[in-house]
């Protein structure tokens, strides 16, 4: 087997377009300042907040997006295609649009946020909860898509056999469907976490930016880039390193080419 020659050069250019800018980041760094920059309280506070919120968002995506994936893969109802399309929206929308949408729904004057505030005295913007919601909005589709794809590819044969043997839907789900889902679930969760970690636009629009509360690593990088570019680059490296680590260690199937 061989790759046709006309494909090789564009492939090389594509790879260069992704890898060279990231390598450029490494070239920009001043190694003498790196340790100090990475352990600065600005970087550590942001990293801690980022990991905490991204993990919470991943759990939320699992609890809500997991069932959604099963429903999308296993039910038939009119408008299913439309619903599936809606689930993909956050993947294609600019994140800042997601942030505005969240703001106008859940903001203090939002159609849902207004009543929440008037009745329960609850306001979401500027809270860590808002960060988690923004991250879940943007990252959950990764989980839904990978789970739904896996369920459809697996088919319903085993589940039908289980049903004929007298198992109810819930037992069948737990004993047959769930074990089938575990490998793709792992890769979906990893992608979801990585995407939540990198979330920027929706967060800054909906949650604002305050150290320790809503300023996640990507927001801290943006703020630092206005003043101390070395610090911003150091934190960018941190984010790149974590993302690479997550992708390589977990080796998600979607990334390994068997989505």
């Amino acid at each position: 087997m061989g790759v046709p020659l006309p494909l090789r050069l564009p492939a090389l250019l594509a790879l260069a377009l992704i890898v060279l800018p990231v390598l450029g980041l490494f070239a920009r760094i001043d190694p003498g300042r790196l340790p100090a920059l990475l352990t600065s309280s600005t970087a550590l506070t942001a990293l801690e907040l980022s990991v905490r919120t991204a993990l919470t968002a991943t759990v939320l995506a699992l609890l809500l997006g997991g069932p959604l994936a099963v429903v999308l893969a296993r039910s038939r109802f009119p408008g299913l295609r439309f619903v599936r399309g809606c689930v993909l929206l956050p993947l294609v929308l600019p994140p800042v649009v997601g942030g505005l949408a969240l703001l106008y729904l859940l903001g203090r004057t939002g159609s849902l946020g207004g009543p929440l505030r008037d009745w329960f005295g609850l306001t979401l913007p500027y809270t860590t909860t808002a960060v988690v919601l923004a991250q879940t909005f943007v990252a959950m589709p990764f989980l839904v898509v990978s789970l739904e794809g896996a369920l459809r590819a697996a088919g319903t044969e085993y589940e039908r056999v289980s049903a004929t043997l007298g198992a109810g839907p819930w037992l069948t789900f737990r004993r047959v469907t769930l074990p089938m889902l575990l490998p793709p679930l792992g890769s979906g969760l990893v992608l979801t976490f990585a995407r939540a970690l990198g979330e920027f636009g929706a967060t800054i629009t909906f949650a604002g930016s305050l150290r320790g509360t809503t300023r996640t690593l990507p927001l801290a990088i943006y703020t630092e880039a206005q003043a101390d570019v070395d610090a911003a680059v150091a934190m960018s490296l941190l984010l790149v390193a974590i993302a690479l680590l997550v992708i390589l260690v977990a080796r998600p199937k979607a990334v390994e080419g068997r989505a």
Partner: protein, 254 residues
């Protein structure tokens, strides 16, 4: 079977790429395009100044790049082109100067102050700077890293009021947006931004605002492709006409 000659596709890709690259090169080499990098807070008056300038010099096209001063300063240091730089504070100009990217001395051409803005109707009943520390009042300010944020810090030290914002935005326009959208009870922005927002916000002056004044310097850049034109633009901004337009937008005289 339809066979493409070996190497035809890569060659085609190269040709497309090269033509794109050369296209960009030609655009930046225009004979009379003056590139002005200016602080975001100068957007409205500079557009008007640009129109006036073009009336007098029809052969010149002015291309504005309005962004945060800090970001512009960094871009200039990284060698992005431009003829003129107008910054929202002296720190950012000093940074560009420190990189030997200026041609000649910077000149202060305008001043600006902070004002409190609140949504129409002032729902939280903000009257003074001290009211902003009320824990029920959600306040949005600029991050200390950007010029409007360092002005905010100076206001804090001049007035002795410790502010407790719910968010520190990286751009004065973002602060304004949060107030306009009703997502904040109050914000600290430039007097001029409060003015450009019109009826969408109410502005409240406070006593110490006079003590903290941002100076806006303008200078020709060393990398200017049109040094003579750049000098003329700087003089126009500092001249009677430019000063009148800036004044109409609420900027103070140097």
């Amino acid at each position: 079977m339809n066979r493409t000659p070996r190497g035809a596709a890569p060659t085609a890709v190269l040709v497309v790429l090269l033509s794109l690259l050369s296209g960009c090169g030609a655009a930046s080499g225009d004979r009379n395009t003056l590139t002005v990098l200016a602080a975001a807070s100068l957007t409205e008056p500079f557009r008007e100044i640009g129109d006036e300038f073009s009336k007098r010099a029809p052969e010149v096209d002015i291309r504005f790049n309005f962004q945060g001063s800090s970001l512009l300063a960094e871009q200039i240091r990284q060698g992005s082109g431009g003829d003129v730089f107008a910054s929202a504070n002296t720190d950012m100009m000093a940074r560009v100067r420190g990189a030997d990217a200026l041609a000649g001395e910077p000149h202060t051409f305008a001043t600006n102050q902070l004002a409190i803005v609140v949504p129409p109707g002032n729902p939280a009943g903000v009257e003074s700077l001290a009211d902003l520390t009320d824990s029920d009042t959600s306040l949005v300010v600029c991050a200390p890293r950007v010029p409007c944020g360092s002005a905010t810090e100076q206001v804090e030290s001049a007035s002795g009021v410790r502010l407790d914002p719910v968010s520190e935005e990286s751009d004065v326009k973002n602060v304004l947006h949060k107030v306009v959208a009703g997502e904040a009870d109050a914000g600290l922005v430039y007097v001029t931004d409060a003015g450009s927002a019109g009826d969408e916000v109410e502005a409240i002056d406070f006593p110490t605002s006079d003590e903290v004044t941002n100076e806006y310097p303008i200078a020709r850049l060393a990398a200017a492709e049109h040094p003579e034109l750049a000098g003329r633009f700087v003089e126009f901004v500092r001249g009677e006409r430019g000063q009148r337009i800036l004044g109409e937008y609420g900027f103070g005289a140097p």
